[in-house]
């Protein structure tokens, strides 16, 4: 019906997951789209290149997608400011992460999180997930210095700034990071960059007897006094340790990892991070969040429920056990019967953003937190333009 009116504002450039992909070229176009949807009771979903669709954008399955790369003027990189002397980057949300990474690499910087190629800045921020360098750098949202967003009122608002340290005003960008576009479209963001290390090395253990054992071995490495790890991941029952830093130090640290772990493969230089990214499957899937000391236990419960152990991707230091997307549907059924209550007992919280997540994974907020969230939704998106489509209803 009114989709045609929308495509008049922003041309339709394709289709994604059954909904049209619209390309607003200017901020005004975007604002008109949002205003139109608000009046017409339609639902819109901001999207980048769609690489992280498996994480399930909130509005997935809405009436249309808003393609944020379209907002980057043709022929431009989307970089608004890269201050190499200050270690900060400001770019449009639709900018390609690969472009941004290449640009800052020239100035000796790196962007955290380390993630597979193909995404946009906005997509990465909205998804709010970090990568396998989480052990050193923590959550992605810790590196967002400021943002400009357009909310469901069409209101463009800014928080934070471009500086590495700043407490002026409330940190709305912390709310938008990871909100999957629920409170609006990210337009611009500033990031704190990390220096590229002089040396990088990835150490991979032999295949251990079980994933739980591998998780224990990984924590043992974490606890080696004074050892600084950049990445700590268990894939296919092998511990992956990424070390980055000064050459001499990395040599010494690698030697210490060797003494604590039966290392089978070693890979140095830029290939190290590529190799880790290649092995890492923790980006999407059914996530079980626990505490480091309970990782092995959680893995055992999951394995006992019949989930294929080799499929699990684990970050023991960050206490995350992921059943990758491909396996998740299958294992969800196995888990739900008896394992799920045991996991709840262990204090595990679930996050399942893949579209076919089982119902028991949903842990809705209750009490005051639910009220706060509802008020935020009412304030930032009173018409529900960016509200998630009810699962299964569409």
């Amino acid at each position: 019906m009114s989709l045609d009116a929308l495509t008049e504002i922003a041309p339709r450039i394709g289709e994604r997951a059954g909904a049209p992909l619209l390309a607003p070229r200017t901020l005004e176009d975007l604002e008109r789209c949002v205003a139109f949807a608000r009046d017409a009771g339609q639902r819109l979903s901001p999207t980048g290149n769609g690489t992280r669709l498996a994480l399930g954008a909130q509005g997935a399955g809405g009436d249309a997608w808003l393609h944020t790369p379209a907002l980057v003027p043709t022929g431009e990189s989307g970089i608004l400011e890269y201050v190499s002397g200050d270690g900060t980057l400001t770019a449009r949300a639709g900018a390609s992460m690969d472009t941004l990474r290449a640009a800052v690499a020239e100035g000796g910087h790196r962007i955290t999180p380390l993630l597979p190629a193909g995404s946009t800045l906005g997509g990465v921020l909205a998804a709010g997930r970090s990568g396998p360098d989480r052990q050193a750098f923590g959550p992605m949202r810790h590196h967002v210095l400021g943002m400009i967003c357009m909310d469901g009122n069409g209101r463009v608002h800014r928080s934070g700034g471009r500086l590495v340290k700043n407490v002026t005003g409330f940190d709305l960008h912390r709310l938008h990071a990871g909100a999957q576009g629920r409170f609006g479209v990210v337009l611009e963001a500033s990031l704190r960059l990390v220096p590229r290390a002089e040396a990088e090395v990835l150490l991979v253990s032999r295949v251990l007897s079980s994933t739980a054992d591998a998780a224990r071995a990984a924590l043992h490495v974490r606890d080696l006094s004074g050892l600084k790890l950049t990445g700590l991941v268990v894939e296919a029952r092998r511990v992956h340790v990424l070390l980055t830093g000064r050459e001499a130090q990395i040599d010494a640290d690698a030697a210490r990892v060797h003494s604590a772990l039966d290392v089978e493969e070693e890979c140095a230089g830029e290939a190290a991070t590529d190799a880790l990214l290649g092995a890492w499957r923790g980006d999407a899937g059914l996530r079980l969040l626990t505490r480091p000391s309970r990782c092995a236990k959680v893995i055992e419960v999951v394995a006992a429920a019949g989930v294929r152990e080799d499929a699990l991707s684990v970050e023991p230091g960050a206490a995350i056990v992921v059943v990758p997307a491909g396996e998740a549907g299958r294992c969800a059924a196995a888990l739900s019967a008896e394992a799920a209550p045991r996991l709840v007992e262990l204090g595990v919280t679930f996050d399942a953003r893949m579209p076919d997540a089982p119902a028991w994974c949903a842990q809705p907020r209750s009490g005051a937190a639910a009220t706060w969230t509802r008020r935020l939704e009412e304030a930032f998106d009173p018409a529900g333009v960016f509200a998630p489509a009810t699962r299964g209803a569409r």
Partner: protein
């Protein structure tokens, strides 16, 4: 009385003396006595007290140790102060999962002391850390020298317990290092007590580094010292803290009980901490000294001795208080600039003060570009106060013009309300106000702070986003 029944006799004060003693925090320019001071001993007591205060129609200003520098804990006339000074239990230290759970009134340095035997520490280290509370740190998203490496408080809080304006107790976040979904915790950290009272905090603990060295690098000019820091950032060197102290600060510190052995003949010193593995420490320290010498540093000392290091840092952290030797009051600015422009903003500050006959000292987190131009004054001299405020404003305006910000770690509070308009427009502030109202629709918590008293009709500058609009 009802409140005394909740918090005990020692927990409620409404006599003239108590009201007077609570009339300000560390920001002395605006003072206001509260009607009542309530000091609960637990989350439950705090929640019960909130219900009573709300029913009685009082507004509430949360307070930790009252060491804030922008008036964030300054009472509202006719309102209450709700202090966490008696909530000082460390509830849990979990070395395996590297977190600690504490009541909001726990003093920052006590937490670090309690964790060090596990080979862990709590990273944010504001200069007032021997007095300020974790709850206050959460309220202001506090920083400190070591935030250069570790980041401010918001990177270290895993969860908290909030008492809201209905007196409801809610746990936000938990212990997971990287939770999913909408982040309600992030916006609460740094909310300057305007969304609720934080009564309990779960923080991340960091493993103690293998080796720590402190470098004291001496310069004949403050400009050269600033340039050396800019060079270090541009060279992407990664020590854990980079501080600068100027000559006046050095003199005040050296005259105090905290004398640290800073050279009194230097115009400026750079205090740097380097930590990590021994090879890494050595490599970074060597590079830093080389860069500093190229900028004219005439001497550089390296020490790994714990006692000596402690002294060097105690001197730095007592610098604010030591200024009491210069004049009865001190205005502490807290601006941030891109680290490429340190020298310029220091120049602006010194000209702004010189032109007004004010005494300026500089001590700051250079590595983060976070300056603290300190202006000594006497609050009894109204004309001097006016000149101080004018100089402060000039410095903030210059900072924003350089692409900087108003505050790096002290918060907006009362002090920078007006200047918020330099950075944010009406829509930005309205969105922030919406955020606040989601947590506190009644304006019960710390009203009249942070937001400009009048809206910002015209946006005077927009360092971020000018292109997007």
């Amino acid at each position: 009385m009802e409140l005394a029944a909740i918090v005990g006799e020692r927990g409620v004060r409404s006599d003239a003396l108590a009201r007077s003693a609570y009339e300000s925090d560390g920001f002395m320019l605006q003072r206001e006595a509260p009607s009542i001071v309530v000091l609960p001993r637990s989350t439950e007591e705090a929640a019960a007290a909130v219900k009573v205060l709300r029913r009685e129609g009082l507004v509430v200003v949360p307070r930790g140790a009252g060491t804030g520098l922008t008036g964030g804990a300054r009472p509202i006339a006719g309102g209450a102060v709700l202090g966490t000074a008696r909530m000082k239990r460390i509830l849990e230290i979990n070395p395996d999962d590297r977190f600690a759970r504490v009541e909001a009134g726990v003093v920052n340095v006590h937490l670090t002391a309690a964790t060090c035997s596990h080979g862990l520490f709590y990273a944010p280290d504001p200069s007032s850390q021997t007095a300020c509370t974790i709850g206050g740190n959460v309220g202001n998203n506090s920083g400190g020298p070591h935030c250069f490496k570790y980041g401010s408080t918001n990177r270290h809080v895993l969860g908290l317990t909030l008492v809201d304006s209905d007196g409801e107790i809610t746990r936000v976040g938990g212990i997971e290092p990287d939770p999913d979904g909408i982040d309600l915790l992030g916006p609460l950290v740094g909310s300057e007590g305007m969304m609720g009272l934080v009564t309990e905090v779960t923080v991340k603990l960091e493993p103690s580094p293998e080796r720590v060295e402190t470098l004291l690098v001496m310069f004949e000019s403050l400009d050269a010292c600033c340039d050396a820091v800019s060079d270090m950032i541009a060279a992407r060197l990664e020590p854990s803290a980079i501080e600068i102290l100027d000559r006046l600060t050095i003199e005040a510190v050296e005259a105090s009980v905290l004398r640290a052995g800073y050279p009194e003949h230097a115009e400026a010193v750079m205090l740097v901490e380097v930590e990590g593995g021994p090879h890494e420490v050595d490599a970074i320290a060597t590079d830093i000294i080389e860069l500093a010498r190229a900028r004219g540093a005439f001497e550089a000392r390296r020490t790994a001795d714990d006692e000596e290091r402690k002294k060097l840092w105690a001197g730095r952290k007592g610098a604010f208080g030591a200024m009491g030797r210069i004049a009865p009051d001190l205005y502490v600015a807290d601006v941030v600039v891109p680290r490429t422009r340190l020298r310029e903003i220091v120049g602006v500050a010194s000209r702004a003060c010189a032109a007004r006959g004010l005494k300026l000292s500089n001590v700051f987190h250079a590595g983060d570009g976070n300056l603290h131009p300190n202006i000594s004054y006497d609050r009894r001299d109204a004309d001097e106060v006016a000149r101080v405020l004018a100089a402060g404003k000039e410095i903030m305006e210059a900072c924003v013009a350089f692409g900087g910000s108003l505050t790096g770690e002290h918060g907006v509070g009362l002090e920078k309300q007006g200047e918020m308009c330099l950075v944010f427009g009406d829509d930005d502030l309205a969105a922030m106000s919406d955020l606040r109202a989601a947590f506190d629709p009644h304006g019960f918590w710390n009203p009249g702070k942070l937001f400009p008293v009048r809206g910002c009709r015209e946006i005077e500058a927009r360092p971020l986003g000018s292109e997007a609009r």
